[in-house]
Amino acid sequence: METTDLGGVIDSMRRLGKAGPEAAMRVLEAKAQTVAARARELCPDDPDTPGTDLADTIRATKATRSKGGMISAAVIAGGARLRKRLGKRAYNIIAVVQHEDTTLKHTRGQAKFVEQPYLQVVPTVAGDLQEALDQEASRVAG
């Protein structure tokens, strides 16, 4: 999922030179951590199913900036961390099934455990980015 509708925030960031992207990366990292923390709470945690430890694997990456200037951060669930617990066949699909299978019944947690907090955080990104850039501009001017 990608957030691109940031309007004038991008212009503000460019005007700040190097300090702008660095401020934006700090904001995005914090947002990704917020999503990851909420996703861990929502992740299915059924004692009688093999996805029990999935929540432990949910983590936010550090923000990165590509050569083209795109700044991104990610929230990841599952992956190789589950290999020892689930075996070679299951470890790389359990997160997809638990996230996307809306027909499963869970005693705790739910499907779309990353998507839901992501959609809740997205509307706050542009405002917080602008605030961070304004603070950076004030610091530079001061």
């Binding site: 299978d101 809306t102 027909t103």
Partner: protein
Amino acid sequence: MLLADIGTHLAGSGLGLTLGVNLFQVPFPAASPPAAVCLVETPGEEDEFGAGPSLDLPALERARFQVITRDDPQNALASRNLAEDIRQKLNNLGPVTLGITVYHHVKATSPVFYLGPDQNERWRWVVNFEAMKGNG
């Protein structure tokens, strides 16, 4: 009602789908046939409001839903193709009125992908959608 509107639209789209027979607005009922499709609401985004009075209905809702197709393994390709056909019937749909609700834009937020077998070893395919709609 989102799922009623979408379900009725799909039932009239020439895909061989009939509400309550092989197309369901809830996760697959226990008595449903092996070859079936279900629609499930999934978490959406916050509403957009106009400058109306307190408790005025939202001007725009951003709802999301999921379509799941399933069938026995020997019919897996047909089930996958049905999911693709459904995607083509709904992706980039609108503006259109379904029921009494204006759908400004319906779009797929994913390609068709394989979800794995259900508890009865029937293969399942999934597509996710977002619907930007008026209230209703």
